[in-house]
């Protein structure tokens, strides 16, 4: 079994953290002892003072080929014994079985090197991947990989590699909790040389452009600390201790061209000699704490003056309004006060039929049945509407409707989005999780926590653990790119994760800062890479891709405490490490390492040292859901408002930054956000609050004569920002399709609980030439339809469905000719209207009753008398028209054709397509 480990060859980041680290090291080292070293191809050697066994040791089994190339110059260079050990190695097969290892915990290191071309491979210990896609580098590069904490099983530990050809040189095993740093104290004479000759030289000639105090750091290189100097900047390590020839700093001080350093004046011969001597003698340097260059000096205090970054206020309800009897609840006072400030009053309330149709579509995406309408109309209690709201919130269709809103935001899809668009059969588990979470009124903070870090939460039982695992499908469904696994652009997948977290949960456009500090918002490139490290330290499941078709790294669900065969497309922690800043967003050009953290303007929280061996997703989730985070509650409240009222208090629901628009009702937004947090982030409580307001009941148009106040309302506030009326909305794609199916009687109301009928994974041969293009039909609700990233269904693109590749905060409601052609001529419309006509004919023998029923089902209203009369005449005319058709003289057939024509009309009228 593997345990988490701390990577201490990473630089230390802050003085405080460094102190903590040193303290923990000291205590840890006491219990650590060297156990065994194995030179896999060659004689016994002494390395770091420890005696290693030769390749004939009986303490391991390895059948790989032996290979030696002692003439290769190592990068970095190293002492003779180590170099000899490294340059003689084993390859082919790549399996080493360590034997005679008594049970216990062992930190293991593996030396690997490259004799010719770079290879990419992964290392596994006892079958578990511990090093993912390591790049061996060019000729001569070597690395001491590890430590990997390993428990010996049956006295054996097996090391293997996968992928490119790896050269295994040696294995180094400790007992206990060795942390990997072997740092002898500096000799006094070396320390004196550094302090007297080197430090002053660096300060005088280099710090101006290459230190944490530089105005404009050059090439990402900091020479004001040991770790940053050895790690180097954009061009690589500045110095390699003991290796004058390969140290870039020495090259630069000798250069005669543009690369000369310092650029204005060459160093003196004695200064050059001092630096060469220093590097040659091991570059002793007491400056052990890594420094850090803060690129954009964001004035956090100033930035937090911006409306969305101010703490959430809890303003008093403005009860001093003129028309106070109009208000039903607190929301109405906020709305009314703004209206009265403009000298306006709201329009009248919508009639009850309009209201029940409005709220039923709003909460379920389906029309009310005539029976539900009737019950509401005949319920005289003042609680009648509240009872409707509660009934709808309790129905499973609520989760299907509001889950779909969330799926829009998290760009849910059943395929990965790579060039071949690999299917993700397990994605539906996450879809169902979303729907169930809404139905269960899961607190919003918990909902976020589970989706970002469910795998890291402590479950109460198996069901809880499975739910938490599945929830991380949110991160897992981040887009995949291209066709290859070698040089897979992981930075783009991580960008997609960060982009979505930023927009969906924080209303921030974080990813502008991938390549440069955000031009408008107080987000620096450091903020971006501080978050990036968290996802670089996480393992994404692999859905399969053209050149590696086998899915892997899915997470098994548990059954009775044991892993089951059901796999979730979910996240796990990987080797934890901070990320290097990528210059201009180019992963090949890395600069300084940025500690994992939350953006400064939101608090700048960092991982505690004790948590550094985790990815940090759990901490990120807690930072996002902290009650003093000014954005999370505001952003979600605004979304709920937008879905209920048709437009948000903030019109740019996923951009609460400078380029977004400020709220029309800032006090109301904050008051609601405060209630949201006080109500334990209950979404259903918030629905009730909004739906039971008078504002929600307003008519969607001004019915007063044009000469009266009506014209003033429209003139003062044409876009209805002040909510003097309700916003009429077009049925979205899902509601339209589901309604047609519901009215025809073809809708299968079952909730989706099984995977889509994808072919089995071992049959997948998808390539970019033959990408996955299947489309599965179903009579279930649209939320359960398989949705692919690269091949959208024409119906959904025609009616402004959600983008499967990017977060959709608000659906368009376009009016296009293609839509009208669809409603005029599409086969599906013809089938559904025919079935609808059959239903109307079967429910009554009386034409007037049939007309009324058809109207009521499609629009929620019964027709006016003259509409009914005109319809009857029209039906007669149609009937006469059809009778001219050959074969249409059979009465039953004729009736069906006639009423089908009528049904087609009703599916095209605005009273059906729009919700008042």
């Amino acid at each position: 079994m593997l345990r988490p480990f701390i990577v201490l060859n990473q630089p230390l980041l802050t003085a405080a953290a460094a102190t903590m680290l040193v303290a923990s090291l000291t205590s840890a080292e006491e219990s650590t002892t060297f156990f065994r070293g194995l030179n896999l191809n060659g004689p016994a050697v002494t390395i770091d003072g420890n005696v290693w066994e030769a390749s004939d040791s009986v303490n391991y089994i390895c059948k790989d080929n032996a290979f030696e190339q002692q003439s290769v110059a190592l990068v970095p260079s190293t002492d003779a014994d180590r170099a000899r050990m490294i340059r003689s190695s084993r390859w082919g097969g790549n399996r080493i079985e360590l034997t005679n290892v008594p049970s216990g915990t062992y930190p293991i290191y593996l030396y690997v090197w490259e004799d010719n071309n770079p290879e990419i491979f992964s290392i596994l210990v006892n079958g578990q991947e511990v090093e993912s896609r390591f790049n061996s580098g060019g000729t001569g590069h070597w690395k001491r990989l590890g430590p990997w904490y390993t428990d010996s099983a049956k006295e054996r530990i097996v090391l293997t590699s996968q992928g490119g050809a790896a050269n295994f040189s040696g294995v180094e095993i400790y007992r206990g909790h060795h942390e990997g740093i072997v740092e002898p104290p500096l000799a006094p004479e070396k320390l004196a040389f550094f302090e007297n000759r080197i430090r002053p030289l660096l300060i005088e000639h280099c710090y101006e452009c290459h230190s944490s105090t530089s105005d404009d750091l050059q090439a990402g290189l900091l020479v004001d600390s040991r770790p940053t100097m050895r790690r180097g900047g954009a061009s690589g390590p500045a110095i390699i201790p003991g290796d004058v020839e390969h140290s870039l700093l020495i090259k630069a001080i000798h250069a005669d061209d543009d690369s000369q350093m310092p650029p204005d004046e060459k160093l003196t011969a004695s200064e050059i000699a001092d630096l060469e001597h220093w590097v040659a003698s091991g570059a002793a340097d007491p400056r052990s704490d890594a420094t850090r260059y803060v690129r954009k000096k964001i004035d956090v205090e100033k930035a937090r003056q911006f409306w969305s970054l101010r703490p959430i206020a809890d303003p008093a309800v403005p009860t001093t309004v003129a028309n106070s009897s109009w208000a039903s609840n607190e929301i109405d006072y906020f709305i009314l006060r703004k209206l009265e400030e403009q000298g306006l009053q709201p329009v009248v309330d919508a009639d009850e039929r309009t209201l029940i149709r409005r709220v039923t579509y709003d909460l379920t995406g389906l029309p009310p049945s005539p029976e539900e309408i009737h019950n509401f109309l005949t319920d005289d209690s003042p609680m009648a509407f509240e009872r409707v709201v509660d009934r709808l919130l309790d129905s499973p269709q609520y989760g299907e409707r509001w889950g779909r809103h969330w799926m829009d935001l998290v760009r849910y899809a059943d395929t990965a989005g790579d060039n071949s668009d690999y299917p993700i059969p397990a994605a539906y588990l996450y879809r169902d999780y979303i729907i169930d979470s809404f139905n269960a009124d899961k607190p919003y903070d918990e909902f976020i926590r589970e989706q970002i870090a469910g795998d890291l939460l402590t479950p109460v039982d198996d069901a809880d653990q499975n739910e938490n695992t599945i929830a991380t499908g949110y991160i897992a469904i981040s887009r995949r790119f291209g066709s290859v696994t070698d040089r897979y652009p992981q930075h783009l997948t991580i960008e997609d994760s960060l982009d979505n977290i930023g927009r969906t949960m924080l209303g921030m456009t974080l990813t502008c800062a991938r390549c440069h500090d955000h031009k408008f918002d107080p987000i620096s490139q450091e903020d971006y890479y501080g978050l990036y490290g968290i996802f670089q330290s996480s393992r994404y499941p692999f859905p399969g891709i053209e050149l590696d078709k086998i899915p892997k790294d899915f997470v098994p669900l548990v059954d009775d405490g044991k892993p089951s065969e059901t796999l979730a497309y979910a996240m796990a922690d990987a080797q934890a490490s901070d990320a290097a800043l990528q210059v201009r967003g180019d992963p090949k050009q890395t600069a300084e390492i940025i500690p994992r953290k939350f953006p400064d303007v939101l608090g700048g929280q960092m991982l505690a040292q004790a948590d550094a061996h985790h990815s940090g997703r759990l901490q990120l989730a807690s930072w996002i859901t902290a009650t003093d985070n000014p954005l999370t509650a505001r952003v979600m409240i605004n979304r709920i408002w937008q879905f209920h009222f048709g437009s948000g208090l903030v019109k740019t629901p996923s951009d609460f930054g400078i380029r977004g628009t400020p709220p029309t009702h800032p006090e109301l937004l904050d008051w609601l956000a405060s209630r949201f947090i006080a109500d334990q982030w209950s979404i259903k409580s918030m629905h009730r609050r909004m739906l039971l307001s008078r504002t929600y009941r307003l008519n969607s148009f001004d019915s007063e004569p044009a000469e009266s106040a009506a014209t003033r309302r429209a003139a003062v506030d044409p876009s209805n920002d002040l909510h003097w009326r309700f916003n009429r909305r077009r049925l979205d794609a899902e509601s339209l399709r589901d309604t047609m199916l519901a009215l025809s009687g073809d809708l299968d109301p079952a909730m989706g609980r099984e995977p889509h009928p994808f072919p089995p994974a071992d049959k997948w041969e998808y390539t970019q030439h033959h990408p996955f293009r299947d489309s599965y039909e179903t009579n279930r609700r649209s939320v359960y339809m398989m949705s692919a990233r690269l091949n959208s269904r024409p119906f959904f693109t025609t009616f402004d469905g959600a983008d499967r590749n990017a977060s959709t905060a608000q659906r368009d409601s376009s009016v296009t000719t293609v839509q009208s052609l669809y409603l005029l001529n599409d086969d599906f419309v013809y089938q559904q209207t025919r079935r609808f006509a059959e239903r109307i004919l079967s429910e009554s023998d009386n034409d007037d009753e049939r007309i009324d029923l058809a109207f009521e089902l499609t629009s929620g209203h019964v027709p006016l008398d003259d509409q009914r009369l005109a319809t009857r005449r029209w039906l007669a005319q149609i009937n006469a028209e059809l009778r001219q058709e050959a074969g249409a003289d059979e009465p039953k057939q004729l009736a069906l054709e006639t009423w089908s024509a009528f049904a087609r009309v009703l599916f095209r009228v605005n009273e059906f397509l729009y919700v008042d």
Partner: protein, 454 residues
Amino acid sequence: MFSHAISRRNTIRSLVGGSILFPGILSELMAAEQQSSASSAEPLAAKPPHFAAKAKRVILVFATGGVSHIDTFDPKPTTNGRDGEGKDKLMGCVFGTKPARQTGTVVSDLFPQIRDSMQDLCLIRSMKSAHFDHTEAAVGMHTGSATFTRPSMGSWLSYGLGTVNQDLPSFMVIAPHLPYGGTQVYASDFLPAYHQGTRVIPGQEPIANLTPRTPRRSLQELELQLADMLNQSHLQSRRDDTQLAARIKSYETAFKMQASGPEAFDFSQEDEKTLEMYGLQSGDTKSFAWQCLVARRLAERGVRFIELVDSGSRPNWDSHGDMQEHVPLAKASDQPMAALIRDLKQRGMLDETLIVWATEFGRTPTKEGKAGRGHHGDCFSIWLAGGGIKPGTVHGETNDIGQTAVSDSVDVHDLHATILHLMGIDHTRLTYRHAGRDYRLTDVHGRILHEILA
């Protein structure tokens, strides 16, 4: 208002004739909207360009799969002497070559008729793609972004200029098969949906749902008439809503498109000589010649952006195993494309129509498999003709084996900037605010290729 008897004759007249159907409110709304220019009732109404345009419309021919520049428009016969050289096995142009009669530009025998039209073309031999996977390169060629979905070039032009014929979509894509990248290549993404490409699939019903399903047309008219009456009474009390008005109007457009759409695809009025010029057999809708003649007809009818996808699925231009696979594809497209240029010229339309022939990338100068070539993004050839380009020119040059551009490298953003420029659009000013940012087709890039402008 429903008391009077329904007169079918009136309805038909109004539907066909246009505005008679919409007295009172609707025409007021339309007029008001047109004045404010941000028309939601007529969202595709033609808009003025930023400056005088050279071209009024674009025909993009997209040869998907990656056409080998070395075997077509940038032949490297000199490599012949070095065939097999190097560990990667250099391979020169495997077809015969000849200089074009008027310009002397050397083109391979794969495109003899286009070669004869070189005096009308501007050939770019220094095109560059940052990607050498089909999907990224194809999506990049259309949208300027290979990894994140963005609106297609046709959608941007529809957004920027609208269209003159409201009875047909502004952006039409004739694609027997989807190219790499699927529907993304003609998606409007964050631009409103009416700017998305309408796919035309050669065959009985080129545009989806264009054929009335009612047993007789009069029945559909009656249906529309009742819907219209109900919609008018609904609109009466909701005077503020231009969307409702636009919806009513869109049925009128759809009704008319049922007639004008098929008419655009009906070749019965084309004379023998024209069909012969394109190499089109009567009744054939499957060939690339059909696509080219449809392109001319759509151009005549004012469609803003017409894209022809040349062989979306395999076999396409992706000749990994054998360059001879290029032969039938070239044969299928050479004559009709040359005919399209000639046809437009004869009709005086070439000057105002920009034709762009492009592919997603070129192919390697080295051999792959038996006698094929791999993907190559560092240099490849495309050509333009018509509206505002300098005819008879060659822009850019590649090295002796066709591996890299040695002068005047052109990337996809430069091409987009130039196309927009020819259409009278400043690519830095055509922006759309989405998710907190102003987006452009050319992102932060793009250089107008003034060298190739007439």
